[in-house]
Symmetry: C2
Subunit: 696 residues, 2 copies
């Protein structure tokens, strides 16, 4: 049995620190659990004994009768280790440590947290918290929180949160919005159990259709990606990840002591995982309601139906913003619409039936739009109609929406006059929004979700790992933080079959002349120094040297230049390389992210890469599809298809080499950074011209 | 007296087409006007006479007694011209044509609209509409709409709308949001009166603090900029402009027949005008409430106060997103906070007082934050407190907020449990929001507004117009759509004192050799052909020709190349130009926008300008400040300060030349497009290397 099961199906729950004082958290927890309708055994533990809610309290954990497999601990922090010990002795294997006063308060608290965790580990006890508000399961049902709020409505959205206060606020807010939750799980400091551990169990829950997360960090990035990738094949996941900004990180550090990772890596990780990343709290649930309640569309062609032209225009704009399109209706649809709408109505998409349209007109037109083969989904826009109550529209369209397999999202603009309509739609589990922009954003996620599921098999990495025994041994000799020697770099590229133009080190002018003859002309020459990573910064590159004599002259010129510009740099000689034919130069690279492993970059290379920022990121290892998607995001990638008099270049070879590089970066955590700048994409094939590797 | 005054201060109003049938619009208009509490005379006109609302109807416009200076026309469209005629004869100088069935329905309707307008013009009648819902003035008061809704609450926000349905929806929605309007004006097809005409009168209204607009187009762009620029010095303006997308334009065309301009020009025009552009309908009023109710901050340093860490983290992120900063509190503030908050509370910004904080703690901490000299504004974040009602926090902080000159915005997260607190804040005119992101967005606009007012004098264009008599005469000979001859282009640059490198046309190899000697070596040579705008596309450029002989060879080579690549191009010879010293190459240009005049562009030049999209836009003529702001938006502009081994270039000279170019583009509507690519920015000064001018 999974060690986390007692959090989801407890046989009996003990509240340690249950209290008869209404201002204490231990009172609130007891009240909520008893009120929740939880069907298993409930045991209240208080060292002084006594009675609350007409129940006897037991005086010690040892005295708790069977069945009990979950303990909620609401105790002063200093007693936490001893209490955990007592739980272990009593055979309780799952605990929720609600109390604060641990890692979030500083070093002393962190020590207490570690001590408590050690005791838990000793007994094989799983622990949620500390510094959390616990669990709500609306279907079991179960409520271990102390909040003076009624449970949220039962629903199909699970919410796992690093912040308890956000849970508090959402429980109240969701009621006003007319949607419910399946689970709410507040995990606080995550000393033991984190969101990644919980995800598979939440995903298994039959009531849960969508999983939402509020995250301040991800501690176990690679496992997070692995777990979420598996789950999203079945159920969508939406994340709000804070700490995007430096300020955010600072606040996160002072909040639950979390150290937030770099935001680029998070964005890339969520994309890799197939997880939706929301920008605001409202967005999470705008999207979640649609994903929980609506079927998925076959494509992005949207029919828009309204009695108000202005709303149609706003909607058309936001469809465009979300990269959805206005459906081109079949001629039959337009004809059928013309048959019953007033002549001044617009029967081209978006449909503006004008203010005189009846509730039945809405239903009739909606049926036509849904029957149209060119329509994948419909948005219905309803401001308060001038001549009758808005709920009449709701009543007419609800049965139509319940009978179709295409998603229909409704926009009700107003307040008092649309309230009743809004309730009726919510009750029928039809997503409804106050403004077109929010509905369109939700519809875009439904469309993306459908597209994602259609392309799910393209997620398998394209390259495989070669035998790494020998190169691993060789790499082990390179000191941490050093740049890998060119010979070893060359070997690395060769093992992964990434084409290079061999680079030879010439320690003298004479050697340069000899090696140049071997490689063939024209030749490029670059200064060789471990102290100069950016060679163009010191004019340390010469191109198109055409003869052995020029190689000798070039050698001397470079030495002179560099020793004047950077006299303290250690010079090893020059690197020689045959000149590459003309092609398109791009940059590809990888850096190791502490949370998520190798983070790949592609884009416009050259010295201005940091300024132009024409780059895209993704987490390794890449599938060909993922690599292509990244490449297409950048101008460097777009112009590979040819631009003006720039001929097209071999994108297939680029994708192949890039996937191999991503496999390399994934396979070898020994490498901290690897960058090919430029990688020249030729008419046929690619050449890694300048490869730099930094050891972890 | 302004001809539009009767729309704002009518002495007497006639409703032409008043009806006793409740399902008719003419009934609704009469009902609303009478119910509105309008204090002037109301005359109901119906050819059949009769009585409604216990008032006699007169049978014809001619019979209307004094006083009457405004007529609301609710009539079948075909009667519009005759009705307008009757109004003219009766001496009525202002009309609101509510009826639809005009330009928005097609050609026939457009003719009827023109005919009606002609009659109106004949009599000097001003007309709002057709196809509109009329006026609401909550302070006068006055309501000429037919909507079955009560008037909105009286407030300080004016709303002018191209869409009547949006007004309908907003009236209801605003009540739920707890804010009111001063004016709502629906202007429909704008056959006569448009938003630009109305703006000065709305701005004069003492009750109006913020002006908001829903626009589908702007017909008179230059006057719109002029009027709004004047108004924003006193009162802020917020615009939602739809038709951003192609789809949006299409929908606008089928809605009120408006032809939306290119969105880039709109964005640039709103920036020029100092108008806020909202992205969504909710955003307009999130911002408007703050601008109407809050004082402006002195700067962007924000204090954040909460009892919930998670909300603090979300807020810190969104402050960063909006380019606001977390204030660094003075040591006294932190000390004073520590004195009364629990030890585990975070006394660094953002302040997390933890869930046990009382309502009085909120007020006490807020006072400290407001007194801090390093704090310009405060956000207070309140989820439902666990132990007492949220409205207690509202009651404690309202007097503090009412006494300070710094803006305080409140975030209440929840629904039922925060409803009462929300009402109390609204009543006290304190902006409150459901989520931190929305409050932060509003606070950012307050901060921008303050910054805008501080820098308002920097809006004056930097360059002045030279004497244009001669050049205008010369330009008149260049045919529309043609490229201006290099000699004239040169003259144009010289008049505006934009430095160039003279270009000479050589019709023969011999001529090329002679001119090259005159200009001095090294020299650049480009093919001269009216049929080849992009010379590099046909390899039509040679650089660094070092002698008269090379000039001759070059001439022959170019002729051969071009006649093979583009045999049908008419060749005039070659253009010669002295080579420019090394510098940074940028592109500057202008295109004439049909709505807003000359639209200026600055950015990274070269052949890839369209791909890299490293460009910024603004409306001419530019002030030095505006030019600098544009330049700094791009990477091309940023690297002018120097980057790696690229030396800094003369940004001052660039700003000067760019302002002059903007003055030129503004002065000469004869020019459709002008582009300098590249403009080389040297260590000192700039050189316009390649200037192309297309005639309108």
């Amino acid at each position: 049995m999974n060690s986390l099961s007692p959090f989801f199906h407890p046989q009996g729950i003990a509240i340690v620190g249950a209290s008869s004082h209404p201002e204490k958290l231990g009172y609130g927890v007891a009240r909520n659990l008893l009120k929740s309708g939880y069907g298993g055994a409930v045991h209240l533990v208080n060292p002084k004994g006594g009675k609350i809610f007409e129940r006897e309290m037991v005086k010690s954990i040892a005295d708790i009768p069977d069945p009990v497999d979950l303990a909620v601990l609401v105790i002063p922090p200093k007693y936490a280790p001893a209490t955990m010990h007592a739980c272990g002795e009593r055979g309780i294997k799952a605990t929720i440590l609600v109390s604060g006063g641990f890692r979030e308060t500083g070093e002393e608290g962190a020590e207490l947290e570690n001590e408590t965790l050690e005791v838990a580990r000793e007994y094989g006890i799983r622990m949620i918290g500390p510094n959390c508000i616990g669990l709500i399961d609306t279907h079991l049902p179960l409520d271990t929180t102390f909040l003076p709020l009624d449970m949220p409505m039962a629903g199909q959205i699970a919410f796992i949160s690093h912040s308890g206060a956000i849970c508090d606020a959402l429980i109240d807010w969701s009621k006003g919005q007319g949607f419910g939750f399946s689970h709410i799980i507040s995990i606080g400091n995550q000393a033991d159990v984190n969101e990644t551990d919980l995800l598979p169990l939440v995903a298994e829950d039959e009531h849960t259709k969508v999983i939402t997360l509020y995250l301040e960090n991800v501690n176990d990035g690679e496992r997070f990606i692995q777990n979420t990738r598996e789950i999203v094949a079945e159920k969508p996941i939406i994340v709000l990840k804070t700490g995007r900004s430096q300020s955010g990180q600072r606040a996160a550090a002072s909040h639950t002591g979390a150290l937030a990772g770099a935001d680029t890596a998070y964005t890339a990780a969520f994309e890799k995982a197939g997880v939706f990343r929301a920008n605001t709290t409202e967005e999470i649930f705008d999207w979640a309601r649609a994903l929980a309640w609506s079927p998925l569309p076959q494509g992005g062609r949207v029919g828009v139906l309204s009695n108000a032209g202005g709303l149609c225009v706003v909607t058309a704009d936001s469809l465009d913003h979300e990269e959805l399109e206005l459906a081109d209706f079949a001629p039959e649809t337009t004809r059928a619409l013309k048959d019953f709408l007033v002549p001044a109505a617009s029967t081209q998409n978006p449909i503006d039936m004008l203010a005189g349209a009846t509730a039945k007109d809405y239903a009739k037109a909606l049926r036509l739009l849904l029957a149209d083969p060119n329509t994948d989904s419909v948005l219905v826009l309803v401001p308060p109609p001038p001549m009758y109550p808005t709920e009449e529209v709701a009543d007419e369209i609800i049965p139509v929406i319940q009978q179709t397999k295409k998603p229909v999202l409704v926009v009700l603009v107003g307040s008092e006059h649309i309230e009743e309509a809004s309730h009726r739609l919510q009750k029928a589990k039809i997503p409804e929004y106050r403004f077109p922009e929010r509905a369109t954003s939700a519809l875009a996620r439904l469309t993306e979700r459908a597209e994602f599921l259609r392309g799910i098999e393209t997620r398998v990495p394209t390259s495989t790992s070669p035998d790494l025994t020998d190169i691993r041994a060789a790499l082990a000799d390179s000191p941490s933080g050093s740049w890998l020697a060119p010979e070893l770099t060359e070997r690395l590229m060769s093992i992964y079959a990434i084409p290079t133009s061999p680079i030879k080190l010439a320690p003298s002018a004479e050697g340069a002349s000899k090696i140049a003859e071997e490689l063939g002309f024209p030749i490029a020459m670059k200064i060789a120094s471990p102290d100069i990573p950016h060679k163009s910064d010191v004019d340390g590159i010469l191109l198109n040297l055409a003869s052995a004599d020029e190689a000798v002259e070039g050698y001397e010129m470079l030495m002179k230049r560099v020793s004047s510009k950077n006299p303290r740099a250690k010079l090893e000689g020059v690197h020689l390389q045959k000149m590459i034919p003309a092609g398109q130069e791009v940059i590809v690279g990888a850096v190791r992210d502490p949370q998520f492993g190798a983070l790949m970059m592609f884009g416009s290379g050259g010295v201005e890469v940091e300024g132009l920022k024409d780059v895209a990121f993704a987490i390794a290892p890449l599938s060909a599809k993922e690599a292509e998607k990244m490449i297409t995001k950048t101008w460097a990638g777009k112009k590979l298809d040819g631009y003006r008099n720039l001929p097209a270049a071999d994108k297939t070879a680029l994708v192949d080499a890039f996937c191999k590089l991503s496999q390399l970066a994934h396979d070898l955590p020994e490498i901290a950074e690897i960058e090919i700048n430029p990688l020249t994409v030729l008419k046929e094939g690619v050449v890694a011209v300048d490869v730099r590797v930094k050891m972890s």
